[in-house]
């Protein structure tokens, strides 16, 4: 009896010991990992690279490891940029756990700029003049530190359905379409009205997406260059764009009233949902995927109001890493023109390097789905046409969201233009930036 009774004591104690062991093991694991990446065998270095979606780095990393026997590179890919962003923010705040090289989207830069001391300054004579000026500018802090090496960019052009154009009596050849659309946004909407007069198909997919294209051309959309937010109620330029896009999209019915990325938007590619859309380089793959089996997509070398850039990424080296020098070297290599061209071939990420943009290899690229359009040349032209680098301060996205929501509300018809704008002003006040 007594011995049996004493078993529970042991069991209870064992339970606690197990618990302690569980905590202990996990601690030991991370320690082990750190040690391994520190100096595995004879001073070898393990670098981690964290990216999202498709950067096209798989083969490049193999190549780098072959060329640098002392370096092992581990590639961690997040499925979506949102996932990568949450991970980034959380671990940046925690002060540990980030990869040696973290890919970031251009959109995160304004926030990260505030904490530029958490990143290694990557400025280096070796990379001077490598990128388009505005690309470098985006990742340069006010005091001149470069926190990210540019990877791809998103020069925007207009994609259109030539079959629907033909049915509505508009020209179909991409040079003629480019000539037709040459001009500002008024021209784009005006041609849309012509199109709408003889077709039932909406002119563009989404008012919000069109607005996104327009706002990307405004130098100080929501904030002064010193970062002071412009009160939305006094922001005549934004209100003007809002009125313009809502008038064209809703009042004139040019919009298909779809939210980008929504189920209906994806399906609309299959059933003649709309005739044109603004397409950054990375959107070509999206269109091809959604519109599989649909004939007639083409791309015109034109963009309302000149040039525009939509999206693009950078590689950063967080200061919390253990091997900043090695990481910097790898990031430099990955974003060099030769490597970026290979990434473009692999996954279509459009390069931001001057040399790559001028290369015959890129200029010669055609896309079968878009009626064999010379996409390399078109997008390179579009990239060169970009004149304005929008200033995006820490509050850019918060404010942008309020206006985007307002446009979506008006576009999908859950609210009228005036009251939707009032709600945007209320949401702006909620941000407490005043």
């Amino acid at each position: 009896m007594r011995t049996r009774r004493s078993v529970p004591v042991v069991a209870g104690a064992a339970g606690i010991a197990l618990l302690a062991a569980a905590c202990g093991t996990s601690g030991a694991d991370t320690g082990g990992e750190a040690a391994a990446s520190g100096d595995g065998e004879g001073g070898d270095v393990t670098l981690t690279v964290a990216t999202f979606n498709e950067f096209g780095y798989e083969e490049l990393i193999e190549e780098y490891m072959d060329a640098n026997p002392g370096v092992t590179v581990e590639h961690k890919k997040a499925a979506t940029s949102n996932e990568a962003r949450d991970n980034m923010n959380t671990r940046l705040a925690a002060g540990s756990g980030l990869a040696d090289i973290e890919a970031i989207e251009v959109d995160w830069l304004p926030e990260l700029m505030q904490y530029s001391d958490k990143f290694v300054d990557l400025a280096d004579p070796a990379v001077e003049g490598r990128w388009l000026d505005w690309k470098v500018e985006q990742a340069t802090t006010p005091d001149g530190a470069l926190i990210g090496y540019g990877t791809d960019i998103g020069p925007v052009s207009v994609c259109y359905r030539s079959d629907l154009f033909a049915a509505a009596g508009l020209p179909t050849d991409r040079a003629e379409v480019a000539a037709l659309l040459e001009g500002d946004w008024d021209t784009y909407f005006e041609v849309g009205r012509q199109f709408a007069a003889s077709s039932d198909v909406p002119w563009f997919d989404s008012a919000q997406a069109t607005y996104q294209g327009m706002i990307n051309q405004v130098a100080n959309a929501y904030e002064e260059s010193d970062g002071t937010p412009i009160p939305l109620a006094e922001n005549a330029e934004v209100k003007d764009l809002y009125d313009q896009v809502v008038a064209a999209g809703v009042d004139d019915g040019l919009s298909a009233h779809l939210e980008q990325w929504s189920e209906d938007w994806v399906n609309a590619f299959q059933n003649d949902g709309f005739a044109t859309m603004l397409c950054p380089g990375w959107m070509l793959g999206v269109i091809e995927g959604n519109a599989a089996g649909v004939e007639g997509w083409d791309i015109a070398d034109v963009y309302p109001g000149g040039g525009g850039n939509w999206g693009g990424s950078f590689l950063t080296v967080p200061a919390q890493g253990e091997h900043p020098e090695e990481a910097k070297a790898l990031a430099q290599w990955l974003t060099a023109p030769e490597q970026q061209l290979k990434a473009f071939e692999a996954k279509g990420t459009f390069p931001s390097q001057v040399e790559a943009l001028e290369s015959e290899e890129l200029r010669g690229q055609t896309n079968e789905f878009f009626n064999d359009a010379p996409v390399g040349e078109i997008l390179a032209n579009r990239a060169e046409a970009v004149e304005v680098t929008p200033f995006k301060g820490p509050n850019y996205f918060a404010i942008h969201q309020t206006v985007s929501d307002a446009i979506t509300r008006a576009d999908v018809g859950s609210d009228d233009a005036a009251s939707s704008w009032e709600k945007a002003l209320a949401a702006f006040d909620e941000l407490g930036l005043g």
């Binding site: 939210e259 979506t408 018809g413």
Partner: protein, 331 residues
């Protein structure tokens, strides 16, 4: 205390024991006494340790964060007292989120509990292939919520969705699931119901099977019909289980996040925040535009208080309903 008490009392027994064996018995005895006193606590200790680490500490720390300026990346700022709570309560979006949460919660929990009990009653009857049917109701629960949301958001697409296509078949105008407030709530509630009804059904079923069969036999002899048996015997006997189901579905319902977040691609709860729930609002405050952990923590605490409050109301209500039913049964 526990260790010294037996030690002091120990010197008494040895004289009773035969000489040489005394020391060994003392050790065993001591162990036995400790065992009786300590081992129950050791048994429950792992739970409390885990709870302290994973439950209590976060709650307390959240309270600490909620009275500070606290930026997502920047970290801790100044102590601001209750300012975060005031800010949050003054934001119209908080009220929108509260409205949405309650609307979705009621649209999901009420039908869910009713359906679960009704289904359980059906499964409790003498069916062929009982296990098959019983497993069947649990099947949706096995599907990950995100997968459910993906499938349902295809079905509930405004223009190209299955549901609207079916409605068009019977001549009903397409419903704008993603822009109308109530429609979006119904769509989200249907996902929740799809997933959780079966789970609650099985719990109710387990409780039903514990109801003594004699009661039903007696009722049959008294001439009670099936419905009468259900309301006068089954429901009152299920009282503790119903309370359990109601409280767990309240907690789940008020914390709902996955389904509404996956309802569209943006995950913000719609352009007008038509279906933004409190937890989504919390997420938006912390990780979205405002990046304020202070405010997000304030919302977390408000949500905690709301859940406690609703839990108490629920408890009182279900007690009353169930006990009045019980009286009916006694009559």
């Amino acid at each position: 205390m526990a260790t010294t008490a037996p030690a002091r009392r120990l010197p008494a027994p040895p004289p009773a024991d035969p000489g040489p064996r005394a020391p060994r018995a003392t050790l065993r005895q001591r162990l036995a006494r400790w065992d009786v006193r300590l081992s129950p606590y050791l048994y429950v200790a792992p739970f409390f340790l885990v709870f302290a680490v994973a439950g209590l500490f976060p709650i307390v720390y959240t309270a600490y964060v909620s009275v500070h300026d606290w930026h997502l990346i920047g970290g801790q700022g100044e102590f601001v007292g209750l300012q975060n709570f005031v800010d949050v309560l003054q934001q119209p979006r908080f009220r929108t989120a509260l409205r949405n949460t309650f609307s979705i919660f009621l649209l999901s929990s009420v039908p869910q509990v009713a359906m679960a009990i009704a289904l359980a009653a059906v499964l409790d009857a003498n069916l062929r292939a009982k296990t098959f049917w019983r497993m069947g109701v649990l099947l949706p629960y096995v599907v990950a919520p995100v997968a459910v949301s993906l499938i349902f958001s295809k079905m509930f697409a405004d223009q190209s969705g299955l549901i609207n296509a079916l409605l068009a078949g019977v001549g009903v105008e397409p419903i704008r699931w993603h822009s109308d407030v109530l429609a979006s709530h119904v769509a989200i509630a249907s996902m929740v119901n799809f997933r959780w009804t079966g789970y609650n059904t099985l719990i109710a079923l387990a409780a039903m099977q514990a109801v003594p069969r004699e009661l039903y036999e007696a009722a049959v002899i008294d001439g009670a019909g099936r419905l009468r048996q259900f309301f006068s015997i089954t429901v009152p006997m299920l009282r503790p289980t119903i309370i359990f189901i109601v409280i767990t579905s309240t907690i789940g319902g008020l914390q709902i996040f996955d389904e509404p977040r996956m309802f569209d691609q943006m995950g913000l709860g719609g352009a007008d925040r038509q279906w933004m729930t409190l937890t989504m609002y919390l997420y938006e405050l912390g990780w979205g535009a405002q990046k304020s952990f202070g405010r997000a923590s304030a919302v977390a605490w408000l949500l905690f208080l709301i859940i406690v409050l609703i839990g108490l109301v629920n408890f009182a209500l279900t007690r009353r309903i169930a006990s009045s039913g019980g009286k009916g049964g006694q009559r």
